[in-house]
Structures are given as structure tokens and as C-alpha cells.
Subunit: 169 residues, 2 copies
DNA sequence: ATAGATGCAAATATTTTGCCGCCAG
DNA sequence: CTGGCGGCAAAATATTTGCATCTAT
């Protein structure tokens, strides 16, 4: 087709050609992996996300930046990032259905703590958990390469809400 | 249809009418939940499983006992058991695709430790993990009702296999 | 120039739903 | 007897694949 790249880019948030890549982009560049226009957009979405997104949400946000991004490309890019260990795939205890959620993961592991009622997810880093991992590596003769810990319960405000509903339903 | 229950039951493993219910069956009975023929079969499969099964595997095993069991019923029964908190739904880090795996869960939590190469899953109970949960409950003012910890790595034999392949591919 | 990416459509895979007849309690 | 269940088919959802075309390097 004859449209230029610029013409495809929406009016909202945009990615300048010269913009410096985020963490994920740098990682791919380091490994000599081709950085296409679509990948740059998807990586930007992942790099700047403030919460866990599923594939459809990633697609939505990517399209707001560049309407030409396709669902298939999102899936393929997520696969690539998973393979490289640059993102984690979470299920968050299926609180909101069976979708998968993705997060760009930094150098440290963390535990996901989710409220089963309001769905809010908090993160928690813990020396105790690091200790647990070390112990498992020793006892099972195994080098751990990925961990996923999801804990569900009711946060204080939801617990109160539910308790008061129980009194007068 | 006019076939009797007995006629529908296959020649292999079978469930006698008088057979005492396993843990899951007792739980449902206690709660006054109807125990149909199909549920009995599915609960039996879950109660006696020695490893994590996905829905299709549960269906297969159930059909070996009673060929009339349907996929829909398996899904509905699994939902029921999930709701009641009698089984856990695992993803096992998607080692083997995006299916869900189920296990009847006893009184204690355990951590799942999976080899990313051979797919073997081992379980691990840990006082350290219990301590971690207590600490989280305190720090987040939250009553934990479900946890899921999945740890992936390469077991000793797979690590060796992979290392030797690397030398001469 | 060319290996590797993308787009599109169609195929898979998995799980859910509506409706009706059936059965456990 | 009767309200909850299960069967069936069809729908909904989510993800993957084949192939032709395009593009980043």
C-alpha cells in the first residue's frame, strides 16, 4: 500500500522515530532482534503499563498509538517476549476469567496479592520468599528460572463491606 | 432413553452404588448438594488422581467408568468444586499449553515445582511459606483464602541432558 | 538483498450458554 | 413431586497457523 508510516499513526499518543527505546526495546536490540514499527508500539505499551494487561488491552492501547497494529502481531510479540523471559504471564487466580495478564518484569521477583472481591492486585517483594527459593534450589537440585506466586483473599475494605451485607442482605 | 444405569457403565473400573464416597463426595453430601451418577464418577476421578489432570483428561477417565459422562458436565462440576473451594485450578506455568489443571486440595497448601523441560511436577510443603503467608496477612490486613505458587526450572537430569546437547548439537 | 515480520483469513482449541427432558432426594 | 441436573447443539472466546507480501537491517 502507499500510505506512509506517518500517515498510519494516530493523533493521540505517538512514538517518535527517534525516541529512545524502553527497557524491552533495548533488550531486543541487544539481542539483535528486528525492531519493527509494530513491535516498537507494543513494547512501548508494555514498558509504560502501570498495571497488568491482557492481550486485548494491549491491542487496544497499541491501536491508540498506531491503528495498524494487529491482534496476531500482539500475540506473536508476546510469545517472543515470553520466550526471551522478558515478560511474565499471569493468571491472577482467574479472578476476571481465564485471560492471561502480562507484565514486563524487572530484576526482582514479586508476589501478587489479589483481592477476590474488588480485584485489586498489589505486589510484594520479600526476602523470605527469596530464602524459600534458595532452599528449594538446594533441596531439589534445581536452578529456578521462573516463579509465579499469586495469593488471593479479601482486602480490609471488601471484608468489611461483605460483613455488613451479611447482616442485612 | 430406556437403558438402565447399570447398562451404561463400562466393563473396566466401576463405581458400585453402595461404594462409600471419597473426600469430595462427602463434602458435597455434607453441604446437601445433589450427588448424581455423573458427579459421583467425576468426583471419584478427582479423588483418586495421582497427578494434575486437565478437563479433557478428567473426561477421558470418567468415560472409562461411565461412557455417558459429558464434557459439559465435567466443566460444570469443576466449576462447582472451584466455587466451593474443594479443588484448585492450576496453570503450571503453561508448560504444556494453556489448559488448566485441577487437583483436589487437602488441608495444607503446597508449592508446585515444575521442570520446564520434562514437565514433571513435584510438590513441596514448607513452613517458610506458611510464615510468609502469615506475614502477608499481617502487613496487608488481609485474610488469605487461596494461594498458588508455581516454580519452574530445570531438574538435574534435564539440566545435564541440555548441557550435553549444547556441546554437540 | 534477504531473512524474518506482518496481515489476513481460516482453522483450532477450549469453555460457556439456552433450552428441554430427566432424576435424586 | 419438583427443582436442580445433565445432554445436546450452538455460541462465545481466545489463540494459532498457512501463505503471500512487505520491511528492517
Amino acid at each position: 500500500m502507499s500510505a506512509t508510516s506517518a500517515a498510519r499513526i494516530s493523533r493521540g499518543e505517538r512514538l517518535n522515530a527517534g525516541e529512545k527505546p524502553g527497557r524491552l526495546g533495548s533488550e531486543l536490540a541487544t539481542r539483535g532482534i528486528r525492531l519493527t514499527r509494530q513491535r516498537r508500539v507494543i513494547l512501548h505499551v508494555m514498558d509504560t503499563a502501570q498495571r497488568h494487561l491482557d492481550a486485548a488491552e494491549i491491542l487496544d492501547r497499541a491501536r491508540k498509538i498506531d491503528s495498524q497494529v494487529h491482534a496476531v502481531t500482539v500475540y506473536r510479540t508476546l510469545d517472543l517476549l515470553k520466550q526471551l523471559g522478558l515478560i511474565d504471564e499471569l493468571d491472577l487466580l482467574h479472578i476476571r476469567g481465564d485471560r492471561h495478564y502480562y507484565e514486563s518484569h524487572g530484576p526482582r521477583d514479586h508476589i501478587h496479592i489479589a483481592c477476590l472481591h474488588c480485584g485489586k492486585v498489589r505486589e510484594y517483594e520479600s526476602a523470605l520468599f527469596e530464602e524459600l527459593k534458595k532452599r528449594i534450589e538446594r533441596e531439589f537440585d534445581m536452578k529456578i528460572s521462573v516463579t509465579r506466586t499469586e495469593i488471593g483473599g479479601y482486602c480490609l475494605s471488601c471484608a468489611e463491606e461483605l460483613a455488613s451485607q451479611k447482616k442485612r442482605p
